[in-house]
């Protein structure tokens, strides 16, 4: 005879006073163990870590991080090969820190990957209408943003871990030494990754759709490139007058914007951080780290505000 669902699924009973009436006698081990009420903060932390774990797992089960990692290794191989060839061809000239640029490129690619992931993390499921399902559970806006932030950092670290064996092999094969300070600098870029992920989450929370979020990211990136490229291009154009040339004004303007971006653009900050690490300039490293942490906190707060404002419904 078919059992009733209740005997099999072990539902709890409830009394008017809120206490659970036991159905263990009918259901044996199937009943939910009676647990003490959990505080909101403990539920929040539990949910945050669980969602972060799931997101990181989903990201690492996809093909994208491995494709990006393979690209990073390929670029590193080409750059190191060029360094070797340059050294061989130029005779006396040697390349200082041949692993600086490959590591910087790899870290930049990892940064780009986690930023794109963060930019889609909220906007895409919200657009599909599936984000609300998470909010049926004990999850709120800050938990969701926090979870995506943690998963972004974890994925970045896993990405660096993924790159470690092939790059170590490359260093061993070429007999080039990777300075320890540079490795510390790469590790510290996790703070910059936090800034990039927080910025991506803000875009994701604020944009009406996944496509719009990506477009905003592309627009922001283009703006940075235009400022950097524009400044470099203007430096190559000679001024016609020493005092009244508009070019000089533009140069000064772009230089100031360029300097300002150092404190806002994760990619510029990454460059500066690795450079400071190579120079063993710990004071500069500390400054950049502080700026990255401050920027991260500000973007995370903005992301929470934006998600509260826009909501979790499509």
């Amino acid at each position: 005879m078919r059992n009733t669902a209740a005997t099999r699924y072990g539902n709890r009973g409830y009394r008017a006073d809120g206490m659970t009436t036991s159905m263990e006698s009918r259901t044996g081990s199937l009943a939910v163990a009676r647990e003490a009420p959990r505080s909101s903060s403990s539920l929040r932390w539990g949910a945050l870590l669980r969602i972060a774990r799931q997101q990181a797992r989903d990201a690492m089960l996809g093909w994208a991080p491995y494709l990006v990692a393979a690209l990073a290794v390929l670029i590193a191989v080409v750059l190191v090969y060029n360094a070797i060839r340059f050294t061989a061809e130029s005779g006396l000239n040697i390349v200082a820190n041949p692993f600086s640029l490959p590591l910087q490129t790899a870290a930049s690619l990892a940064l780009l990957y986690v930023t794109v992931e963060a930019t889609l993390a909220i906007a895409r499921p919200r657009e599909h209408g599936s984000l609300q399902v998470l909010f049926f559970a004990p999850v709120d806006v800050s938990v969701l943003i926090g979870a995506h932030f943690v998963s972004g950092i974890v994925v970045y670290l896993l990405f660096l871990l993924l790159l470690a064996p092939p790059l170590s092999l490359l260093a061993w094969v070429t007999n080039f030494v990777v300075p320890v300070a540079l490795l510390w600098g790469v590790l510290l870029t996790v703070l910059v990754a936090g800034l990039a992920v927080a910025f991506g989450l803000f875009l994701s929370a604020a944009a009406p759709s996944g496509r719009a979020a990506i477009l905003l990211l592309v627009a922001a990136t283009l703006l940075l490139l235009i400022v950097q490229g524009g400044y470099a291009a203007l430096l190559n154009i000679p001024p016609t007058s020493r005092y009244y040339d508009a070019l000089l004004f533009l140069r000064v303007l772009l230089r100031n914007v360029h300097e300002l971006l150092l404190w806002f653009s994760p990619f510029r900050m990454l460059d500066a951080m690795l450079d400071a690490a190579l120079r063993a300039d710990w004071a500069a490293l500390l400054q950049y780290s502080g700026a990255a942490v401050g920027g991260t906190v500000a973007w995370l707060a903005a992301a929470v505000w934006a998600l509260r404002r826009r909501g979790v419904l499509p």
Partner: protein, 313 residues
Amino acid sequence: MLQTEGLTKAYDTTVAVQDLNINVRAGEIYGFLGPNGAGKTTTIRLLLGLLQPTAGSVFLFGQRNTNDMVALKRRIGVVAEEPLSMTRMTGWEFIRFFADLNAVPQPEARMEALFQALDLWDARHALVGAYSRGMRQKLSLLRALVHGPELLILDEPVSGLDPYGILQVRQLVEEHRQNGGAVLISSHILSEIERSADRVGILHQGRLLVEDTVEGIRQRLGSARVLKLGLVMVPSTLPDALRQIHNVERVEAYDSQITVHIVGQNDIRPEIFRTVVAQGGVLLEMTGEEMSLEEAFVTITHQNVEQLAGATA
């Protein structure tokens, strides 16, 4: 367990929910009815804090839902019309994920029982993306039940299910009620609500038109009871004679059968019997038909539309 006071949600040009007052008690199944666009889903989103009300309040377990929604949500299970994005997970992983979010300790035994109760056990290791619509619907119910909530909020829970699936869901909901839990169920399948709900609220254009038991709603309407008379033959004067009886609204005669539409609550069957005999008829049978919830629903919403039309004319 669940109460709203003057709950209102207005957008720029429309009012989705207007001054809604409902009360769902422990051990009760509350049916929430309304045509498309009536405001049912908006109401459910307001209850869960996914939307902020323009006015009014929601009380869950006696607490205002703005107080500590995270802790309150743990006592609620929700099934909504939802697409599932976590299609890289298997069914088992999906439910385990939500069990963990709800901090259910050692949920495996309960999960196994629930998967078996809803006939998903064999498909537990298949990816959610490969589930059929009915299986996903069952998975949603499973998700809503895995943490043993006190209050179930079900939006179209049997949508996409086959008759056997509907039966399984009905059984689980009924058992939840029997265990003292409360259920708010919104469905277009009126027969489902009629069969399971203790009380029914009918929402139309954002307003709660009526809230009562199914029987109470029929009585409130007080009409549309129908008596069917089977006779050996219908005397020509009988239909007119029946029309003279108080509370008889309409009489239809066809062949050897007469259909009498009655308004009001009086039992006029003895009078009908006497009239048939007095007119020389021989009554073989008299059967009564109650108004179905579907008919009541149509009548109530239709009346309301007419009232609104009258008010604006």
